[in-house]
Symmetry: C2
Subunit: 310 residues, 2 copies
């Protein structure tokens, strides 16, 4: 292991592109972010966009690229499919797909799927974060990965025994911008995780999730009848939706949960889980995804020695 440039790690999602130049031992040597997510690259092509970023950072052609996220979806660069659960999360690298017809060695990591009849589910990108989280803090049995589509994962050792997605982040954005609540929750500032309206919302959502769509309208009524302002209302809306997610995930006081998150979401979910009496183990989402990407490259190249020597 050394700190020489060795691997290009990329998280390529629907609306964002994050690239890190990594050493074999996981040191970050350079970083680059842009908004050229999936939806932006359709015209220019994935390889063109990727190489323009690598050229800007003067990264040599010899280094391989490992990618997770929506680049592996049907509408992405190369479709990588899904590994069915139960699945050993340490095998996602071995199952990565080599992108054909490009000069640079480039692999994309597959997603995970729950092929249940009644409650099918998928993840793509979070499996790599999950691998990193598992390597950072082994032994966790439950992980919460908040976001546009929050993922709740159950594990037994390295085995992913199941997971559930909650549309919390997307519902918050859509309900606050596209329903009658736009008049009550205006503004775009981040919600304060210590705002009493947020914490009360969490508790109401967690203890009475069946009332959620009523509690939402009640925010509007609270503006009309009690003159409640947009910051308080946004905080309550966020709390209600996160609280309902915690109820849906079956969160109970006293249990231990690994929270894979960073920034504002980390603060909100840490506060929400603590409000419900959970022992939170924090794992930085950026650290986790980088570690998952680097580990996946090692797994892939160990299995495909000829490629490594090529």
């Amino acid at each position: 292991m050394s700190t020489a440039p060795a691997i290009i790690a990329v998280d390529w999602g629907t609306s964002s592109f994050r690239l890190w130049l990594m050493s074999n031992d996981g040191t970050v040597l350079a970083e680059h972010r842009s908004h050229e997510g999936m939806s932006e690259v359709a015209e220019r092509g994935f390889e063109t966009v990727l190489e323009s970023h690598l050229k800007a950072l003067s990264i040599p052609d010899s280094l391989p690229v490992v990618i997770c996220g929506m680049a592996g979806s049907r509408q992405g660069w190369v479709e990588t499919g899904y590994i069915n659960t139960p699945a050993d999360v340490t095998t996602i690298g071995e199952n990565a797909v080599l992108v054909p017809g490009v000069a640079r060695r480039t692999i994309i990591i597959p997603g995970l799927a729950v092929r249940s009849h009644n409650e099918p589910d998928v993840m793509r990108g979070e499996e790599t974060q999950l691998l990193g989280a598992h390597l950072e803090l082994p032994g966790g049995e439950r992980y919460c990965m908040p976001g546009t589509h929050s993922k709740w994962v159950s594990m037994n050792g390295a085995m992913v025994t199941g997971f559930e997605t909650f549309m919390t982040g997307e519902l918050f954005a859509t309900i606050s911008a596209r329903t009658i609540l736009v008049h009550s929750t205006g503004g775009e500032g981040p919600v304060d995780a210590q705002d009493p309206a947020f914490l009360t919302g969490v508790r109401d959502g967690w203890t009475r999730p069946e009332k959620t769509t009523h509690h939402l309208f009640s925010i509007r009524a609270g503006q009309l009848l009690h003159g409640r302002g947009p910051d308080e209302n946004r905080a309550r809306l966020s709390g209600l939706l996160i609280g309902a997610e915690l109820a849906g995930a079956g969160v109970r006081g006293g249990e231990q949960i690994g929270l894979v998150a960073s920034g504002a979401l980390q603060r909100l979910y840490h506060a929400a889980l603590s409000e419900c009496g959970v022992q939170v183990r924090d794992i930085d989402a950026d650290v986790a995804v980088r570690r998952g990407l680097v580990d996946s490259w090692h797994s892939f190249s160990n299995l495909n020695g000829d490629l490594k020597r090529a």
Copy 2:
């Protein structure tokens, strides 16, 4: 009582205008509908829009107008406020507000409010439907009034003891058009109330409302993994949201509920309530609102005899 033209009854909502020419005994003599809801009349003015409709129907200047709905809101024609619950629903006509400065005698009915600290709520327009429903089928203790914002009302005789609003209709429209589910629930056809996907959704939403935001994402996953089509997905989405509303309203098998609805919504909610073992008493929403408007006019004019003779 006679069948001569006597009262102009108007339900003036945010996005629709419905007018009926009524006799004193409640016979419908003429009907007119348009999309000139509240949001359309700001420029032309309420009186101008109303008189243009009345002129088109050759309705004499001497007839009074009774209006319910958003025309009585702060952004409406004249703000009529809210009567606080508990409230006798038969008093809404006595509390109607005479519109000042217009040639034609015109009254607007107030809304109802729950001024609770934790769960405030309001209705405007539905109180008139509720009065009509109470007069059509007295003795009901629970009424469901589905719509963009569904209202669930508890009554003791004519007393409204409380109510709760659920944002079901607006959430269905917004989630199917403005979230990732747009790819899975495309199309705009009405949902079939006998579709097994609708009824299964109702049952899942009713029995496990805390899972709703997970079940929503699962619709997307069902498309990706099982190839489920837009009609089935729309039906399930509708069922899940209505089922969660029923759970939030505390619906139990065997109870009796008055369903104030018409058209496609009546079919969906009747099927959903029946699926949960409820004894449904159907009350047509149009019949109810007309009866509530006519009765409110009689209450108002009995109390204000001088106006009646003016």
